[in-house]
Protein backbone atom coordinates (compact mmCIF):
# COMPACT_ATOMS: atom_id res chain seq x y z
CA UNK A 1 0.00 0.00 0.00
CA UNK A 2 1.38 3.35 -0.99
CA UNK A 3 1.43 6.42 1.17
CA UNK A 4 -1.55 8.69 1.61
CA UNK A 5 -1.16 12.11 0.03
CA UNK A 6 1.15 14.12 2.24
CA UNK A 7 1.54 17.54 0.73
CA UNK A 8 4.90 19.11 1.11
CA UNK A 9 6.46 16.64 3.55
CA UNK A 10 10.19 17.25 3.04
CA UNK A 11 11.00 13.66 4.07
CA UNK A 12 9.04 12.30 1.14
CA UNK A 13 10.30 12.01 -2.40
CA UNK A 14 8.87 10.54 -5.56
CA UNK A 15 5.39 10.81 -7.00
CA UNK A 16 2.41 11.44 -4.74
CA UNK A 17 -1.33 11.22 -5.44
CA UNK A 18 -3.30 14.47 -5.75
CA UNK A 19 -6.12 13.14 -3.57
CA UNK A 20 -5.98 10.59 -0.72
CA UNK A 21 -8.39 8.19 -2.43
CA UNK A 22 -6.03 7.65 -5.37
CA UNK A 23 -3.46 4.88 -4.80
CA UNK A 24 -0.34 4.75 -6.94
CA UNK A 25 1.58 1.63 -7.99
CA UNK A 26 4.04 0.48 -5.29
CA UNK A 27 7.49 -1.06 -5.80
CA UNK A 28 5.80 -4.19 -7.19
CA UNK A 29 4.19 -2.21 -9.97
CA UNK A 30 0.55 -2.67 -10.92
CA UNK A 31 -2.02 -0.07 -11.84
CA UNK A 32 -3.10 3.02 -9.97
CA UNK A 33 -6.61 2.76 -8.58
CA UNK A 34 -9.23 4.55 -6.53
CA UNK A 35 -10.39 3.44 -3.10
CA UNK A 36 -13.58 4.07 -1.19
CA UNK A 37 -14.95 3.36 2.29
CA UNK A 38 -17.92 1.02 2.13
CA UNK A 39 -20.64 0.87 4.75
CA UNK A 40 -21.02 -2.74 5.95
CA UNK A 41 -24.71 -2.13 6.64
CA UNK A 42 -26.12 -0.40 3.55
CA UNK A 43 -23.26 -0.57 1.04
CA UNK A 44 -22.95 3.18 0.49
CA UNK A 45 -19.42 4.12 -0.59
CA UNK A 46 -17.54 7.30 0.36
CA UNK A 47 -14.31 8.89 -0.79
CA UNK A 48 -13.45 10.59 2.50
CA UNK A 49 -12.35 9.40 5.91
CA UNK A 50 -15.30 8.91 8.26
CA UNK A 51 -16.60 7.46 11.48
CA UNK A 52 -20.03 6.49 10.25
CA UNK A 53 -22.45 6.35 7.36
CA UNK A 54 -24.38 9.40 6.14
CA UNK A 55 -27.01 7.23 4.45
CA UNK A 56 -28.00 4.75 7.16
CA UNK A 57 -26.39 6.17 10.33
CA UNK A 58 -24.24 3.06 10.90
CA UNK A 59 -21.37 4.01 13.21
CA UNK A 60 -18.12 2.08 13.11
CA UNK A 61 -15.37 1.06 10.74
CA UNK A 62 -16.11 1.40 7.03
CA UNK A 63 -13.70 -1.01 5.34
CA UNK A 64 -11.69 0.23 2.39
CA UNK A 65 -12.61 -1.18 -1.00
CA UNK A 66 -10.77 -0.97 -4.29
CA UNK A 67 -12.92 0.66 -6.95
CA UNK A 68 -13.07 -0.46 -10.55
CA UNK A 69 -12.02 1.55 -13.57
CA UNK A 70 -15.27 1.76 -15.52
CA UNK A 71 -17.89 4.46 -15.32
CA UNK A 72 -20.22 6.68 -17.30
CA UNK A 73 -20.62 10.43 -17.66
CA UNK A 74 -23.45 11.66 -15.44
CA UNK A 75 -23.05 15.41 -16.00
CA UNK A 76 -20.38 17.81 -17.21
CA UNK A 77 -19.33 21.38 -17.78
CA UNK A 78 -16.58 23.03 -19.80
CA UNK A 79 -14.54 25.13 -17.41
CA UNK A 80 -13.00 28.34 -18.75
CA UNK A 81 -12.11 29.87 -15.36
CA UNK A 82 -10.41 27.86 -12.66
CA UNK A 83 -7.66 28.23 -10.10
CA UNK A 84 -4.88 30.49 -11.45
CA UNK A 85 -2.34 28.42 -13.37
CA UNK A 86 -4.71 25.60 -14.29
CA UNK A 87 -4.84 25.10 -18.08
CA UNK A 88 -8.28 25.97 -19.52
CA UNK A 89 -10.62 25.13 -21.07
CA UNK A 90 -11.13 21.61 -19.76
CA UNK A 91 -14.06 19.29 -19.29
CA UNK A 92 -15.08 18.64 -15.68
CA UNK A 93 -17.60 15.94 -14.97
CA UNK A 94 -19.24 13.67 -12.48
CA UNK A 95 -18.60 10.03 -13.31
CA UNK A 96 -20.95 7.31 -12.11
CA UNK A 97 -18.72 4.30 -11.31
CA UNK A 98 -19.97 0.76 -11.80
CA UNK A 99 -19.24 0.24 -8.09
CA UNK A 100 -22.22 2.45 -7.23
CA UNK A 101 -20.38 5.64 -6.32
CA UNK A 102 -19.82 8.84 -8.28
CA UNK A 103 -16.50 10.68 -8.49
CA UNK A 104 -15.47 14.09 -9.76
CA UNK A 105 -12.97 14.09 -12.60
CA UNK A 106 -11.60 15.82 -15.65
CA UNK A 107 -12.71 14.18 -18.87
CA UNK A 108 -9.78 13.79 -21.26
CA UNK A 109 -9.61 12.59 -24.86
CA UNK A 110 -12.73 14.57 -25.83
CA UNK A 111 -12.66 18.07 -27.26
CA UNK A 112 -14.08 20.67 -24.89
CA UNK A 113 -17.07 21.08 -27.20
CA UNK A 114 -20.68 20.63 -26.07
CA UNK A 115 -21.45 18.71 -29.26
CA UNK A 116 -18.82 16.07 -28.40
CA UNK A 117 -20.00 15.31 -24.88
CA UNK A 118 -22.75 12.75 -24.38
CA UNK A 119 -24.57 12.04 -21.16
CA UNK A 120 -24.00 8.43 -20.18
CA UNK A 121 -20.94 7.97 -22.42
CA UNK A 122 -18.79 5.06 -21.15
CA UNK A 123 -15.49 6.09 -19.61
CA UNK A 124 -12.40 4.44 -18.19
CA UNK A 125 -9.96 5.57 -15.52
CA UNK A 126 -6.49 6.81 -16.45
CA UNK A 127 -3.76 8.52 -14.46
CA UNK A 128 -1.19 11.08 -15.44
CA UNK A 129 1.01 13.77 -13.96
CA UNK A 130 -0.90 16.92 -13.01
CA UNK A 131 2.03 19.11 -12.03
CA UNK A 132 5.28 19.21 -10.07
CA UNK A 133 4.90 20.58 -6.56
CA UNK A 134 7.10 23.12 -4.79
CA UNK A 135 9.23 20.28 -3.35
CA UNK A 136 9.88 18.93 -6.83
CA UNK A 137 7.58 15.92 -6.46
CA UNK A 138 5.39 14.78 -9.32
CA UNK A 139 1.74 15.07 -8.35
CA UNK A 140 -0.32 12.31 -9.98
CA UNK A 141 -4.00 12.69 -10.71
CA UNK A 142 -6.70 10.44 -12.14
CA UNK A 143 -8.99 11.36 -15.01
CA UNK A 144 -11.37 9.56 -17.35
CA UNK A 145 -11.26 8.95 -21.07
CA UNK A 146 -13.86 7.52 -23.44
CA UNK A 147 -13.84 3.72 -23.15
CA UNK A 148 -13.02 1.57 -26.15
Amino acid sequence: MTQQASQGDPAETGPRPIVPYLRLPDENGGDAYLVGKKCPECGAIYLDSRIGCAKCSFVGDLPEVRLGTEGSLHTWTIVHMSRPGVPVPFVAGIVDMKDGISVPANIEGVEPDPAKLKFGMPLRLVTDKAFTDAQGRDVIRYAFRPAG
Binding site: I18, H74, W76, R83, D96, I101, N106, V139, R141
Partner: protein, 371 residues
Protein backbone atom coordinates in the same frame (compact mmCIF):
# COMPACT_ATOMS: atom_id res chain seq x y z
CA UNK B 1 -47.30 30.16 18.39
CA UNK B 2 -47.67 33.90 18.01
CA UNK B 3 -48.28 35.22 14.50
CA UNK B 4 -45.23 37.12 13.25
CA UNK B 5 -45.37 40.27 11.12
CA UNK B 6 -42.84 42.35 9.21
CA UNK B 7 -43.27 46.01 10.16
CA UNK B 8 -39.97 47.52 9.03
CA UNK B 9 -37.94 46.73 5.89
CA UNK B 10 -34.89 48.37 4.37
CA UNK B 11 -31.70 47.73 2.46
CA UNK B 12 -28.71 49.67 1.27
CA UNK B 13 -28.31 49.49 -2.50
CA UNK B 14 -26.09 46.54 -3.37
CA UNK B 15 -22.84 47.76 -4.89
CA UNK B 16 -19.28 48.48 -3.83
CA UNK B 17 -18.47 50.24 -0.55
CA UNK B 18 -14.69 50.13 -0.24
CA UNK B 19 -14.64 52.68 2.59
CA UNK B 20 -17.22 51.04 4.84
CA UNK B 21 -17.19 47.94 6.97
CA UNK B 22 -19.92 45.33 6.58
CA UNK B 23 -21.27 46.17 10.04
CA UNK B 24 -21.55 49.83 9.03
CA UNK B 25 -23.65 48.84 6.02
CA UNK B 26 -25.70 46.64 8.37
CA UNK B 27 -26.12 49.54 10.79
CA UNK B 28 -27.45 51.80 8.02
CA UNK B 29 -29.96 49.16 6.94
CA UNK B 30 -30.97 48.63 10.59
CA UNK B 31 -31.57 52.35 11.14
CA UNK B 32 -33.68 52.58 7.99
CA UNK B 33 -35.71 49.50 8.90
CA UNK B 34 -36.41 50.86 12.41
CA UNK B 35 -37.41 54.21 10.92
CA UNK B 36 -39.72 52.38 8.50
CA UNK B 37 -41.28 50.53 11.44
CA UNK B 38 -41.54 53.62 13.62
CA UNK B 39 -39.44 52.16 16.43
CA UNK B 40 -36.12 53.00 18.05
CA UNK B 41 -33.37 50.77 19.37
CA UNK B 42 -34.88 50.93 22.85
CA UNK B 43 -37.94 49.10 21.48
CA UNK B 44 -35.86 46.24 20.06
CA UNK B 45 -35.81 43.22 22.38
CA UNK B 46 -33.56 40.86 20.40
CA UNK B 47 -31.32 41.06 17.38
CA UNK B 48 -30.16 38.40 14.95
CA UNK B 49 -27.44 39.12 12.42
CA UNK B 50 -26.18 37.18 9.44
CA UNK B 51 -22.65 37.69 8.10
CA UNK B 52 -20.81 34.68 6.73
CA UNK B 53 -17.28 36.05 6.66
CA UNK B 54 -17.19 37.64 10.09
CA UNK B 55 -14.57 37.02 12.73
CA UNK B 56 -16.98 37.36 15.65
CA UNK B 57 -19.75 39.54 16.98
CA UNK B 58 -21.15 40.77 13.66
CA UNK B 59 -24.41 41.90 15.25
CA UNK B 60 -22.69 43.39 18.29
CA UNK B 61 -20.55 45.50 15.99
CA UNK B 62 -23.71 46.88 14.41
CA UNK B 63 -24.98 47.91 17.85
CA UNK B 64 -21.59 49.36 18.74
CA UNK B 65 -22.14 51.73 15.79
CA UNK B 66 -25.68 52.81 16.64
CA UNK B 67 -26.43 52.01 20.27
CA UNK B 68 -25.46 49.30 22.75
CA UNK B 69 -28.67 48.49 24.61
CA UNK B 70 -27.52 45.16 26.02
CA UNK B 71 -30.15 43.05 24.22
CA UNK B 72 -29.48 39.42 23.25
CA UNK B 73 -27.67 39.15 19.90
CA UNK B 74 -27.53 35.96 17.85
CA UNK B 75 -25.08 35.72 14.96
CA UNK B 76 -25.60 33.20 12.18
CA UNK B 77 -23.38 31.58 9.56
CA UNK B 78 -25.11 29.19 7.16
CA UNK B 79 -23.46 29.60 3.76
CA UNK B 80 -25.59 31.61 1.32
CA UNK B 81 -28.60 31.09 3.63
CA UNK B 82 -26.83 33.02 6.40
CA UNK B 83 -29.16 36.04 6.30
CA UNK B 84 -32.35 34.04 5.97
CA UNK B 85 -31.23 31.85 8.89
CA UNK B 86 -30.92 35.04 10.96
CA UNK B 87 -34.46 35.92 9.88
CA UNK B 88 -35.65 32.53 11.07
CA UNK B 89 -34.01 33.14 14.45
CA UNK B 90 -35.94 36.41 14.83
CA UNK B 91 -39.12 34.71 13.62
CA UNK B 92 -38.78 31.89 16.15
CA UNK B 93 -38.11 34.20 19.09
CA UNK B 94 -41.40 36.00 18.42
CA UNK B 95 -43.38 32.93 17.38
CA UNK B 96 -42.33 31.28 20.63
CA UNK B 97 -43.61 34.24 22.63
CA UNK B 98 -40.19 35.08 24.06
CA UNK B 99 -40.13 38.54 22.49
CA UNK B 100 -42.48 40.99 20.73
CA UNK B 101 -40.07 43.06 18.63
CA UNK B 102 -36.96 41.73 16.87
CA UNK B 103 -34.37 43.29 14.58
CA UNK B 104 -32.90 41.14 11.79
CA UNK B 105 -29.82 42.28 9.86
CA UNK B 106 -27.89 40.69 7.03
CA UNK B 107 -24.61 42.20 5.82
CA UNK B 108 -21.50 41.33 3.84
CA UNK B 109 -18.60 42.75 1.93
CA UNK B 110 -17.33 40.53 -0.86
CA UNK B 111 -13.92 40.06 -2.42
CA UNK B 112 -13.28 39.74 -6.13
CA UNK B 113 -13.06 36.89 -8.59
CA UNK B 114 -14.27 33.32 -8.43
CA UNK B 115 -15.74 31.74 -5.35
CA UNK B 116 -14.30 28.24 -5.24
CA UNK B 117 -13.45 25.48 -2.85
CA UNK B 118 -9.82 25.81 -3.71
CA UNK B 119 -7.21 23.16 -3.08
CA UNK B 120 -4.52 21.83 -5.38
CA UNK B 121 -6.90 19.35 -7.02
CA UNK B 122 -9.04 22.17 -8.49
CA UNK B 123 -8.96 21.89 -12.27
CA UNK B 124 -7.14 18.54 -12.24
CA UNK B 125 -9.84 16.42 -10.60
CA UNK B 126 -12.92 18.18 -11.91
CA UNK B 127 -13.88 21.63 -10.68
CA UNK B 128 -15.39 22.93 -7.47
CA UNK B 129 -15.82 26.54 -8.54
CA UNK B 130 -19.36 27.76 -7.91
CA UNK B 131 -20.00 28.46 -11.62
CA UNK B 132 -18.86 24.91 -12.45
CA UNK B 133 -20.91 23.27 -9.70
CA UNK B 134 -24.08 25.05 -10.77
CA UNK B 135 -23.25 24.43 -14.42
CA UNK B 136 -23.10 20.68 -13.76
CA UNK B 137 -26.34 20.87 -11.76
CA UNK B 138 -27.93 22.69 -14.71
CA UNK B 139 -26.63 20.11 -17.17
CA UNK B 140 -28.38 17.41 -15.13
CA UNK B 141 -31.60 19.23 -16.04
CA UNK B 142 -30.47 19.26 -19.66
CA UNK B 143 -29.78 15.53 -19.46
CA UNK B 144 -33.23 14.76 -18.07
CA UNK B 145 -35.40 17.29 -19.89
CA UNK B 146 -33.43 18.70 -22.81
CA UNK B 147 -33.15 22.20 -21.34
CA UNK B 148 -31.05 24.39 -23.68
CA UNK B 149 -28.32 26.98 -23.13
CA UNK B 150 -30.67 29.54 -24.71
CA UNK B 151 -33.29 28.80 -22.07
CA UNK B 152 -30.74 29.18 -19.29
CA UNK B 153 -29.50 32.43 -20.89
CA UNK B 154 -33.04 33.87 -21.02
CA UNK B 155 -32.93 33.96 -17.21
CA UNK B 156 -30.22 36.63 -17.39
CA UNK B 157 -32.16 38.63 -20.00
CA UNK B 158 -35.23 38.63 -17.74
CA UNK B 159 -33.16 39.50 -14.67
CA UNK B 160 -31.72 42.61 -16.28
CA UNK B 161 -35.10 43.61 -17.68
CA UNK B 162 -36.52 43.55 -14.15
CA UNK B 163 -33.48 45.24 -12.62
CA UNK B 164 -34.01 48.31 -14.79
CA UNK B 165 -36.80 49.20 -12.35
CA UNK B 166 -34.80 48.53 -9.18
CA UNK B 167 -32.55 51.31 -7.84
CA UNK B 168 -31.19 48.84 -5.26
CA UNK B 169 -29.66 46.60 -7.96
CA UNK B 170 -26.09 47.23 -9.08
CA UNK B 171 -26.42 46.12 -12.73
CA UNK B 172 -29.50 47.60 -14.40
CA UNK B 173 -28.63 47.81 -18.09
CA UNK B 174 -30.74 45.63 -20.37
CA UNK B 175 -29.02 42.82 -22.26
CA UNK B 176 -30.07 40.80 -25.28
CA UNK B 177 -30.00 37.01 -25.54
CA UNK B 178 -27.09 37.30 -27.98
CA UNK B 179 -25.14 39.48 -25.55
CA UNK B 180 -25.67 36.96 -22.76
CA UNK B 181 -24.62 34.03 -24.94
CA UNK B 182 -21.61 35.94 -26.30
CA UNK B 183 -20.35 37.24 -22.97
CA UNK B 184 -17.24 35.55 -21.60
CA UNK B 185 -17.74 31.82 -21.03
CA UNK B 186 -17.07 30.99 -17.37
CA UNK B 187 -18.26 27.39 -17.10
CA UNK B 188 -20.54 26.06 -19.83
CA UNK B 189 -23.42 26.85 -20.04
CA UNK B 190 -22.88 29.73 -17.56
CA UNK B 191 -21.43 32.80 -19.27
CA UNK B 192 -20.37 35.88 -17.31
CA UNK B 193 -23.85 37.44 -17.53
CA UNK B 194 -25.26 34.20 -16.13
CA UNK B 195 -23.14 34.39 -12.95
CA UNK B 196 -24.00 36.67 -10.03
CA UNK B 197 -21.43 39.44 -9.56
CA UNK B 198 -19.58 40.18 -6.32
CA UNK B 199 -21.18 43.10 -4.47
CA UNK B 200 -21.36 44.49 -0.94
CA UNK B 201 -24.63 45.19 0.79
CA UNK B 202 -26.93 44.94 3.76
CA UNK B 203 -30.62 44.56 4.50
CA UNK B 204 -32.72 44.66 7.66
CA UNK B 205 -36.19 43.80 8.91
CA UNK B 206 -38.13 44.69 12.05
CA UNK B 207 -40.37 41.81 13.13
CA UNK B 208 -43.20 42.02 15.65
CA UNK B 209 -45.89 39.81 17.04
CA UNK B 210 -49.06 40.49 15.05
CA UNK B 211 -50.69 41.93 18.17
CA UNK B 212 -47.84 44.40 18.64
CA UNK B 213 -47.66 45.12 14.90
CA UNK B 214 -51.21 46.41 14.83
CA UNK B 215 -50.13 49.20 17.21
CA UNK B 216 -47.62 50.39 14.62
CA UNK B 217 -49.17 49.80 11.21
CA UNK B 218 -52.41 49.04 9.42
CA UNK B 219 -50.50 47.05 6.79
CA UNK B 220 -48.45 44.37 8.56
CA UNK B 221 -46.93 41.72 6.28
CA UNK B 222 -47.50 38.31 7.83
CA UNK B 223 -44.80 35.64 7.76
CA UNK B 224 -46.94 32.60 7.00
CA UNK B 225 -44.05 30.14 6.98
CA UNK B 226 -40.36 30.15 7.88
CA UNK B 227 -38.63 26.88 7.01
CA UNK B 228 -35.02 25.74 7.12
CA UNK B 229 -33.73 22.42 5.76
CA UNK B 230 -30.34 20.77 5.31
CA UNK B 231 -29.31 18.27 2.66
CA UNK B 232 -30.64 14.78 3.27
CA UNK B 233 -28.54 11.89 2.00
CA UNK B 234 -29.04 11.52 -1.73
CA UNK B 235 -27.14 9.49 -4.26
CA UNK B 236 -24.46 11.96 -5.38
CA UNK B 237 -24.85 14.81 -2.88
CA UNK B 238 -21.40 14.47 -1.35
CA UNK B 239 -19.76 14.55 -4.80
CA UNK B 240 -21.98 16.99 -6.73
CA UNK B 241 -24.00 19.05 -4.27
CA UNK B 242 -27.70 18.25 -4.63
CA UNK B 243 -29.41 21.66 -4.57
CA UNK B 244 -32.79 20.19 -5.47
CA UNK B 245 -33.91 17.81 -2.75
CA UNK B 246 -33.57 20.15 0.21
CA UNK B 247 -35.30 22.92 -1.76
CA UNK B 248 -38.20 20.59 -2.52
CA UNK B 249 -38.38 19.56 1.12
CA UNK B 250 -38.37 23.18 2.30
CA UNK B 251 -41.02 24.23 -0.23
CA UNK B 252 -43.30 21.35 0.67
CA UNK B 253 -43.11 22.14 4.36
CA UNK B 254 -43.58 25.87 3.76
CA UNK B 255 -46.67 25.34 1.58
CA UNK B 256 -48.13 23.05 4.24
CA UNK B 257 -47.44 25.49 7.07
CA UNK B 258 -48.86 28.43 5.12
CA UNK B 259 -51.83 26.43 3.94
CA UNK B 260 -51.31 27.45 0.33
CA UNK B 261 -49.87 26.01 -2.87
CA UNK B 262 -47.60 27.38 -5.58
CA UNK B 263 -50.69 28.36 -7.62
CA UNK B 264 -51.50 30.94 -4.92
CA UNK B 265 -48.18 32.84 -5.23
CA UNK B 266 -48.13 36.38 -6.62
CA UNK B 267 -44.34 36.53 -6.89
CA UNK B 268 -41.15 34.64 -6.02
CA UNK B 269 -37.64 35.78 -5.14
CA UNK B 270 -35.47 32.69 -5.58
CA UNK B 271 -31.77 31.93 -5.39
CA UNK B 272 -30.48 32.71 -8.90
CA UNK B 273 -26.79 32.65 -8.00
CA UNK B 274 -26.38 31.32 -11.55
CA UNK B 275 -28.85 31.31 -14.43
CA UNK B 276 -28.83 27.51 -14.41
CA UNK B 277 -29.97 27.48 -10.78
CA UNK B 278 -33.07 29.56 -11.46
CA UNK B 279 -34.55 27.03 -13.85
CA UNK B 280 -33.88 24.14 -11.45
CA UNK B 281 -35.84 25.96 -8.78
CA UNK B 282 -38.88 26.54 -11.03
CA UNK B 283 -39.30 22.78 -10.87
CA UNK B 284 -38.21 22.50 -7.22
CA UNK B 285 -40.66 25.13 -5.96
CA UNK B 286 -43.52 23.70 -8.02
CA UNK B 287 -43.90 26.81 -10.20
CA UNK B 288 -44.36 24.46 -13.15
CA UNK B 289 -44.70 20.76 -13.81
CA UNK B 290 -41.66 18.52 -13.48
CA UNK B 291 -39.12 19.36 -16.19
CA UNK B 292 -41.13 22.29 -17.59
CA UNK B 293 -38.81 25.09 -16.40
CA UNK B 294 -37.47 25.72 -19.90
CA UNK B 295 -40.97 26.20 -21.26
CA UNK B 296 -41.82 28.53 -18.35
CA UNK B 297 -38.99 30.93 -19.22
CA UNK B 298 -39.70 30.58 -22.98
CA UNK B 299 -43.32 31.57 -22.44
CA UNK B 300 -42.45 34.61 -20.34
CA UNK B 301 -44.53 33.37 -17.43
CA UNK B 302 -41.86 34.40 -14.90
CA UNK B 303 -41.47 37.93 -16.29
CA UNK B 304 -43.31 40.77 -14.51
CA UNK B 305 -46.79 40.74 -16.03
CA UNK B 306 -46.62 36.97 -16.51
CA UNK B 307 -48.37 34.28 -14.48
CA UNK B 308 -45.75 34.04 -11.71
CA UNK B 309 -43.07 36.75 -11.76
CA UNK B 310 -39.70 35.50 -10.50
CA UNK B 311 -37.01 37.83 -9.20
CA UNK B 312 -38.76 41.11 -9.90
CA UNK B 313 -35.80 42.70 -8.11
CA UNK B 314 -33.48 41.60 -10.88
CA UNK B 315 -32.28 38.74 -8.69
CA UNK B 316 -28.75 38.03 -7.62
CA UNK B 317 -27.71 38.21 -11.29
CA UNK B 318 -28.41 41.97 -11.18
CA UNK B 319 -28.08 42.85 -7.50
CA UNK B 320 -25.04 40.72 -6.77
CA UNK B 321 -24.82 38.36 -3.84
CA UNK B 322 -23.39 39.76 -0.59
CA UNK B 323 -23.75 36.41 1.17
CA UNK B 324 -25.12 37.47 4.55
CA UNK B 325 -27.36 40.19 3.12
CA UNK B 326 -29.00 38.15 0.36
CA UNK B 327 -31.51 36.18 2.44
CA UNK B 328 -32.78 39.29 4.23
CA UNK B 329 -32.85 41.43 1.09
CA UNK B 330 -35.13 39.07 -0.83
CA UNK B 331 -37.68 39.23 2.01
CA UNK B 332 -37.38 43.05 1.99
CA UNK B 333 -38.21 42.90 -1.73
CA UNK B 334 -41.28 40.70 -1.14
CA UNK B 335 -42.39 43.03 1.66
CA UNK B 336 -42.24 46.06 -0.64
CA UNK B 337 -44.36 44.28 -3.26
CA UNK B 338 -46.94 43.18 -0.71
CA UNK B 339 -47.20 46.78 0.50
CA UNK B 340 -47.38 48.15 -3.06
CA UNK B 341 -44.11 50.06 -2.58
CA UNK B 342 -41.94 48.41 -5.25
CA UNK B 343 -42.03 51.29 -7.71
CA UNK B 344 -41.46 50.63 -11.39
CA UNK B 345 -41.06 46.89 -10.85
CA UNK B 346 -44.21 46.49 -8.71
CA UNK B 347 -46.04 43.20 -9.26
CA UNK B 348 -49.67 44.29 -9.54
CA UNK B 349 -52.01 43.27 -6.76
CA UNK B 350 -49.36 41.16 -5.02
CA UNK B 351 -50.86 39.18 -2.12
CA UNK B 352 -48.55 36.23 -1.47
CA UNK B 353 -44.78 36.10 -1.93
CA UNK B 354 -42.18 33.36 -1.54
CA UNK B 355 -38.48 33.91 -0.80
CA UNK B 356 -35.99 31.07 -1.33
CA UNK B 357 -32.29 30.81 -0.57
CA UNK B 358 -29.92 27.88 -0.82
CA UNK B 359 -26.45 27.71 0.62
CA UNK B 360 -23.97 25.08 -0.45
CA UNK B 361 -23.05 22.61 2.22
CA UNK B 362 -26.12 22.72 2.50
CA UNK B 363 -28.85 24.93 3.95
CA UNK B 364 -32.12 26.01 2.36
CA UNK B 365 -34.71 28.49 3.60
CA UNK B 366 -38.18 29.18 2.27
CA UNK B 367 -40.24 32.05 3.65
CA UNK B 368 -43.83 32.75 2.62
CA UNK B 369 -45.32 36.19 3.28
CA UNK B 370 -48.89 37.46 2.87
CA UNK B 371 -50.46 40.89 3.15
Amino acid sequence: MQEVAIVGAAMVPFGRYPDQEAYQLGARAALDAMKDAGVGLNDIQIMSCGQLMATSGAGQRVLQQIGQTGIPVVNTANACATGSTALREGFMSIAAGMHDIALVVGQERMGTGLTYAGDESEGYVGSGTMPAVFAMAGMEHTSKYGTTIEQFAKVAVKAKKHAAGNPYAKYRDPVTLEEVLNSRMISYPNTQFMCCPNTDGAAALVLMSMEKARQYTTKPVRIAASVLTSDPWTERDLILVDVNTLTRNAAKEAYERAGIGPQDLSLVELHDCFATAELLHYDNLGLCGEGEAGRLIDDGETTIGGRIPVNASGGLLSKGHPLGATGVANVVEITWHLRGQAGARQVENAKVGLAHVIGIGSACTVHIMTN
